[in-house]
C-alpha cells in the first residue's frame, strides 16, 4: 500500500525528516510514536502532500506509484486521507456542503457524475450515525466553534465519507475525553478492512488500547529508531522516551 524510502524533508531549509523507511501493507494498522518534535506530524503532512515541506531526498510510493509529483488533491483522489491534528475552521461553509464538494470533486476526478442528492443524503446520514453526530451539527460552519472533541469526530466522519485506502490519523486522540475517544476509535475500527491501511500518529499509548496496531514505530530526530509490535507501545508508556533517545545516541 504505502512504501517510504529514505525520505528526507525540510521546512525553510531546516531538515526535519532524515531518512524515513516505512512499509505499510493493506489491512494493517501502524502506530508511529515519538517525543515532541521528532517529526511525526511532518511525516503525516508530507505523505498528504503539504507544499510547506520540501522533500529533499527519497520517495513515497502508493500502490507502487511514486506520488512525489502529485498535488494534495490528487493524492486524496488516489485514496490518501489525513486526519488533521488541528482541523482548520472555515466559517461560511457548512459541514454538509463541504462534504458534497469533496465527494463530487473526487468523483469528477474519476470521471464520474455528481452523486445523486438522495444518495448523498443517505451516505451523510449513515456515516454521521456511525460517529454519533447530531444532524444539527452538519449544518454548522466547518469546525467553527467546535470543541476539540467535535473537531476530531468530524475528521473521522470525513474519513468515513471519503473511504480512503490509506488513512493517517495525526494525534487524533489529543483533546478527546474518554467518551469521545471511544466513539472515534469505534468509528475507525468499523472503517478498517483488509483493503485499507491506517497509520496512527500519537504521543501516547491511550488510543492504541482502542485501535490495536499491528506494528509500532518510534520516531526520533527524523528517523525511525525502533520498530516492534503493540508491546513496544506499552513499554514506551511505562518507561517514557528517554531510553529510546539514549539508545539512538549510542
Amino acid at each position: 500500500m504505502l512504501k517510504i524510502k529514505d525520505l528526507h524533508a525540510s521546512v525553510e531549509g531546516k531538515g526535519i525528516l532524515k531518512g524515513i523507511n516505512l512499509e505499510v501493507g493493506a489491512g494493517e494498522v501502524h502506530a508511529i510514536m515519538g517525543p515532541n518534535g521528532s517529526g511525526k506530524s511532518t511525516l503525516a503532512s508530507v505523505i498528504a502532500g503539504n507544499e510547506t515541506y520540501e522533500v529533499t531526498k527519497g520517495d513515497i510510493f502508493l500502490n507502487g506509484e511514486n506520488i512525489e509529483d502529485l498535488s494534495p488533491e490528487e493524492r486524496a483522489h488516489n485514496g490518501v486521507f489525513l486526519s488533521f491534528q488541528y482541523p482548520v475552521e472555515i466559517p461560511g461553509v457548512s459541514v454538509t456542503n463541504f462534504m458534497k464538494t469533496a465527494i463530487n470533486e473526487s468523483r469528477k476526478a474519476k470521471g464520474l457524475e455528481d452523486m445523486p442528492a438522495k444518495d448523498m443524503l443517505k451516505l451523510i446520514r449513515d456515516k454521521s450515525e456511525l460517529l454519533e453526530i447530531d444532524r444539527k451539527f452538519l449544518s454548522r460552519s466547518l469546525n467553527e466553534g467546535f470543541s476539540g472533541g467535535e473537531k476530531k469526530r468530524n475528521e473521522i466522519f470525513q474519513m468515513a465519507m471519503l473511504e480512503p485506502k490509506l488513512a493517517i490519523l495525526d494525534e487524533t486522540d489529543s483533546g478527546l475525553d474518554i467518551d469521545a475517544l471511544r466513539i472515534v476509535a469505534n468509528g475507525v475500527n468499523k472503517l478498517k478492512s483488509k483493503d485499507n491501511a491506517i497509520v496512527i500518529i500519537t504521543h501516547y499509548q491511550r488510543l492504541l488500547e482502542y485501535i490495536v496496531p499491528d506494528y509500532v514505530h518510534v520516531l526520533h530526530n527524523g528517523k525511525i529508531v525502533k520498530s516492534g509490535t503493540k508491546e513496544l507501545a506499552l513499554e514506551l508508556e511505562e518507561k517514557g522516551y528517554d531510553w529510546i533517545k539514549q539508545e539512538a545516541a549510542v
Binding site: 510547506t52 494534495p72 483522489h77 488533521f84 482548520v88 463541504f98 469533496a102 470533486e105 476526478a109
Partner: protein, 438 residues
Amino acid sequence: MDLKDKLVSSFLAFENNVDVHNPVHDVRTEAIKNFETKGFPSKKEEGWKYTSLNSLQKIDFSIFPKKESTLEYKDVKKYFIHQIDTYKIVFVDGVFSSNLSETTHDGVDICLMSSALTKPMYKAVIDVYFNKVASKDESLTTLNTAFSREGAYIYIPKNKLPKKPIEIIHFSTGNDTALMLQPRNLVIAEENAEMQIIERHQSLTSNAVLTNSVTEIFAAKNAIVDYYKVQNDNDAASLIDNTYVDQKDGSHVKIHTFSFGGKLLRNNLNFYQNGERIDSTMKGITIIGEKQHVDHHTLVHHIEPNCESHQDYKGIFAENSTGVFNGKIIVDKIAQKTNAFQQNNNILVSDKATINTKPQLEIFADDVKCSHGCTIGQLDEEALFYLQSRGIPKKEARALLMYAFANNVLESVRIPELKVRINKLIANKLGVNLGFDL
C-alpha cells in the same frame, strides 16, 4: 473639447427640451454653475486620491442618446430577478422603456421622475423632497442635478407596502459609440412604509458607458427601505453612484452593494440620521480582477442620540485590480448613546492587486460605542491544504475559501431569489461550480 466643456455647453441644448419656467429648473441652473466652477474631481482632492477619472474624461461621450432603441424582454430577461414578480422601472439608453416596465399608481407611486418633475399632481412632493438631501456642492452630484430629468420615482405613502419588490434597470445598447447617462432617482417612504428595491446598470455591448447616478432616499418615521445594488456590468462600463439617505425616527435603511463587474465603480453612500432610534446599514461584497477598480466611500452622520449604524464590506481583489474603502463616521456632540460599527476585510489574491482602506471617525460625543476594523490578507495556506487534502482541487478550494470569506454579508438579503442570484454571480466570478448550490 474636453468632457467638462462638452457637458456645460450641452446644458443649453438640454434647456431646449425642458420647461425652463418650472422651479425645478432653477435648481438645475444653480447646479450647472457649481459644476462649471468645480469641474470633475481630481486626484488632488482627498476623497479622490485613489480614483482617477482622467481616462474617462478623454472619451468623447454623447450626452444625449442619438436615437431611441427598444429591447425585447426575452433578450434581457436574464438581467431581471425573473423568478419572482416585481415592479419594473426600466430605461434603455436613458429613455424609459414602457414595454419592459411595470409601473403602478395603485395606492403607491412607482413610476418616472420625468412625470414627477413636470406634472402638477407631484409638485407638492417635489417641492419638499427633490434635491433636499443630495449635496449642492459635490461636483458630480451637481452635474447630475443639472441634467436631472429622468429616473425612478417611488413614493410609498404612510403605512403602505408595495405588493412586490421594485427593480430599476438601466440598459445601454451601444447605439452611441460612447454614452454618458445621468439617471436621477427619488425614493420616498412615508411613516411606517416599507419597500425593497433592486437596482442594476447593464451595458449590452462593448461600447463605453459612463453613468453618473444620483439617488435620494427619504425614510420617514419607522419606515423600512432595503436597497440592493447589483453591479455586474461589462468592462467598458463605468458607474459613479451617489446615494443620499435622509432618515427620521425609528427608520431602518439598508443598502447592499454587490460589485463584481464594470471598469470603474465609485459608490458614494451618504446617510444622515435626522432622528432617534435610527438604524443605518451598509454592506458590500466586492470581487474584481483584471484592471477593474472599485471605490466605496461611505458616510454616516450621527446627528441625534440613540442611533445605530452598521457597515460590513468584504473585498477580494485579483490580478491588477484596485480597491478603495473609505468609511467616514461623524458623531455630533449631542448624538450620545450612538452605536457605530464598521468592518472592512480584504483579501488580495495576486501580488499586483491593491486595496487602500481607511476608517475615518470624527466623534464629538463622549458616551458612544464606535468600533472599526480593517484587515488585508491573503488566503490561508493551511486552510487551502486542508481542503485540498479532502480532494478539492486548488482552484475550487481557493474559490470555496473566498466564498466563505464573503458570504456572511448575504445573510441580511431578504429576497431569497436575489440571494440565489448573487450566489451564482459569485460562483461565476470565481469561475467555479462548487458541487452545491451556493
